[in-house]
């Protein structure tokens, strides 16, 4: 009885947030391809052409990942997940400032903005994954039940991205330099996440650096996603160290970033209206 009451209260408390998130996501989705002839089809065409280009450049000409089973789809999955992370954080960074007009005129929970833009990114990821899945089948990958773990790693990236967006968006209200700093960090993180090349290349050349790279949550999530979805033989933190505590570090980082980000955003958000 008490639990039912609590749930009712919770529902009431988050009713407004829920309504608003829903409308903002729908709006963003509608606006995304507005005015284009092919419309939503672009959500599928974009990853398709991206894959074709990357395949020719990195697999066909540069022969990166030769000898690694199903590397082309593995690479594509990595790129798609990276783009997901990039979309959440880059979009999140400017989201508060770009909604300044709204914030100055009505009071609503500001986290809604971050959540709705990350949901939009998730919808985009969904379309991308359809393309990845098709290529996985074409490539003849042996799918196992482990693939159902993929959402876990997507969720990890999502949480990490939201946590970072909380911090960046709140800072961007006052310090516009953050956007350039974040651009540079993203450039570094892109390579530190082994998106375009197999991690084994780094591990073979410099074992410690390869392992350090895997402490980065994006690299770890990408690598584990590739493992469960495409090739279970790829190394990850656990197979390299056999130490569950070490494997836990990236997850701990995600957790810390998310908790700190939420706290920081909550602390700063009451002053967005007058600073934005």
């Amino acid at each position: 009885m008490n639990i039912v009451k609590k749930l009712e209260q919770l529902k009431k408390k988050y009713r407004y947030s829920f309504i608003l998130i829903r409308e903002l996501v729908i709006t963003e989705f509608k606006l995304r391809y507005q005015g284009s002839v092919l419309g939503y089809l672009w959500s599928l065409l974009k990853p398709l052409f991206l894959f074709i280009i990357l395949y020719f450049v990195f697999v066909y000409f540069l022969k990166i990942g030769a000898g690694i089973p199903h590397w082309p789809v593995s690479m594509l999955l990595g790129i798609v997940l990276w783009n997901f992370f990039a979309e959440i954080t880059n979009g999140g960074l400017k989201s508060i400032v770009s909604r300044g007009g709204l914030i100055r005129n009505i009071n609503f929970p500001k986290y809604i903005i971050i959540i709705s833009s990350s949901i939009s990114a998730s919808i985009n990821l969904f379309f991308n994954l359809i393309v990845v899945f098709v290529f996985t089948l074409i490539n003849g990958v042996n799918l196992s039940t482990a693939m159902f773990l993929l959402p876990v790693f997507i969720f990890e990236i999502l949480l990490f991205g939201i946590g970072i967006s909380f911090i960046l968006s709140a800072m961007y209200v006052k310090f516009r330099d953050i956007q350039y700093i974040w651009e540079i960090i993203m450039q570094g993180l892109f390579y530190a996440s082994a998106t375009l090349f197999p991690l084994s290349k780094v591990l073979n050349a410099h074992h410690t650096i390869g392992q350090l790279m895997l402490l980065n949550p994006v690299a770890q999530a990408l690598q584990d996603a590739r493992r469960v979805f495409i090739s279970p033989d790829l190394p990850n933190l656990y197979t390299l160290n056999n130490n569950p505590l070490v494997s836990f570090i990236p997850i701990l980082i995600v957790f810390i970033v998310f908790v700190f980000g939420s706290w920081y955003f909550r602390k700063k958000s009451p002053y967005f209206a007058e600073n934005v």
């Binding site: 009713r15 709204l102 310090f175």
Partner: protein, 399 residues
């Protein structure tokens, strides 16, 4: 009993804004300022300085003041948009702010989509908007435009749509900025009808405006804010007169600065005018002062002009009841009160005041647009006539 339960209570409210003297939102400056810790390049602007008031349930509460006096800041704090620097703000019940119409409107979306988006911001779920959709559209009179994108709407259409969504909001307390009263006469009438409905429903309303006519007509109580402080509070008539007096002081100060609306050869001058308007009567209090020499046979002339600056009526002081030639001793100031029936239609009127000699040979002081008054919401047809004749009709023949 209504009217005794306090729904808004504000105590010693202070709001400070920290304004950077230079643009201070880059990291470089932030780092520089760490080293120059003494001068942070920040000015403190005290927008509200200790504001205290209460609003009871069911009150129509007016907040007046000049631009930049802090009333919008006050509204934004009540709406929860800004945080108070000091002091306490207590609000009981669901509060809906209408600080700007059409918050969140997106020009790339259709009218229909914008209704849902704007509605969501006001707390309506999709289903709730579904239920109200037809009502909203017919109220806005935009049936055939709902599937057009908002960017193709005229500004009047946008306001109508926004207002139609806004009136659906089911709130206990409403914050109304006078932005609501923009638009053509027809739309204004809708707004005023809405205000009347709100009054009938005993909603609590905090109303920010520059229009003293609206304050007198709708408000039960009012406060006047000057420089972030409440300088007058109480009956709307008194508060709005105080507000009008603020401007007279200002006009008085400005009068000698080569004002093209003011000329005359001197000898006697107009000190101040205050106008009191209600449905039935208009009263003008005119204070005049003579120069160092005494002045005889002064006539005060009043011209009343409509909003197109066309003369629609007037009167001179010597040929009316209680009138005659005015004589002033050297440096004497006297106040004359003119009262006449409010036979004017709805709209804005301006008043020219002149001090002159009997046969118009000398003009001592002429003040164009010395005062103005707004006649509101009298009757529909009054919009058409500048003056509504106080006529009577008698049935002279049976059948």
């Amino acid at each position: 009993m209504l009217g005794h339960e306090t729904v808004i209570e504000i105590k010693n409210l202070e709001k400070h804004f920290y304004l950077s003297r230079e643009k201070n939102n880059s990291l470089k400056q932030k780092i520089i300022h760490i080293f120059k810790s003494k001068d942070r390049g920040v000015d403190t602007y005290r927008a509200l300085r200790g504001v205290t008031f209460k609003v009871n349930k069911g009150e129509f509460f007016g907040v007046v003041g000049r631009n930049g006096c802090g009333k919008s800041t006050l509204l934004k704090i009540l709406a929860g948009i800004y945080q108070p620097t000091r002091g306490s703000v207590e609000v009981k019940g669901k509060l809906v702010p209408f600080i700007e119409l059409g918050v969140g409107f997106n020009p790339e979306l259709t009218g229909r989509e914008n209704v849902y988006l704007n509605g969501a911001l006001l707390g309506f779920s999709k289903k709730e908007i579904d239920d109200r959709y037809n009502k909203i559209v017919s109220f806005a009179e935009l049936e055939e435009f709902m599937d057009q994108r908002l960017k193709n709407y005229s500004s009047g259409m946008k306001v109508r749509l926004a207002f139609s969504v806004a009136v659906q909001a089911d709130a206990d307390i409403l914050l109304l900025d006078e932005v609501l009263a923009v638009g053509d006469a027809d739309f204004q009438k809708k707004c005023f009808n809405y205000f009347n409905d709100l009054k009938d429903l005993n909603k609590t309303i905090v109303f920010v405006t520059h229009s003293m006519g609206l304050v007198k007509q709708y408000c039960d109580k009012a406060i006047l804010i000057e420089d972030g402080k409440i300088t007058h509070r109480g009956h709307p008539d008194e508060v709005s007169d105080e507000y009008t007096r603020l401007f007279i002081k200002q006009e008085d100060m400005n009068k000698n600065r080569n004002n093209i609306n003011r000329f005359g050869e001197g000898g006697a001058s107009i000190r101040s005018i205050s106008t009191h308007t209600n449905k039935d009567k208009i009263k003008l209090d005119i204070s005049i002062k003579s120069d160092k020499i005494s002045s005889d046979s002064i006539v005060i002339g009043i011209d009343i002009l409509d909003k197109n600056r066309k003369l629609v009526g007037g009167v001179e002081s010597f040929n009316i009841d209680g009138g005659g030639m005015i004589s002033l001793k050297p440096s004497e100031t006297r106040v004359f009160s003119f009262e006449f029936d409010n036979i004017f239609g709805s709209g804005d009127y301006s008043v020219n005041i002149s001090l002159k000699s009997e046969n118009n040979q000398n003009i001592y002081d002429f003040w164009k647009g010395a005062s103005k008054f707004v006649n509101l919401n009298k009757r529909d047809y009054d919009n058409y006539f500048p003056i509504v004749l106080p006529a009577r009709i008698t049935n002279i023949k049976k059948g």
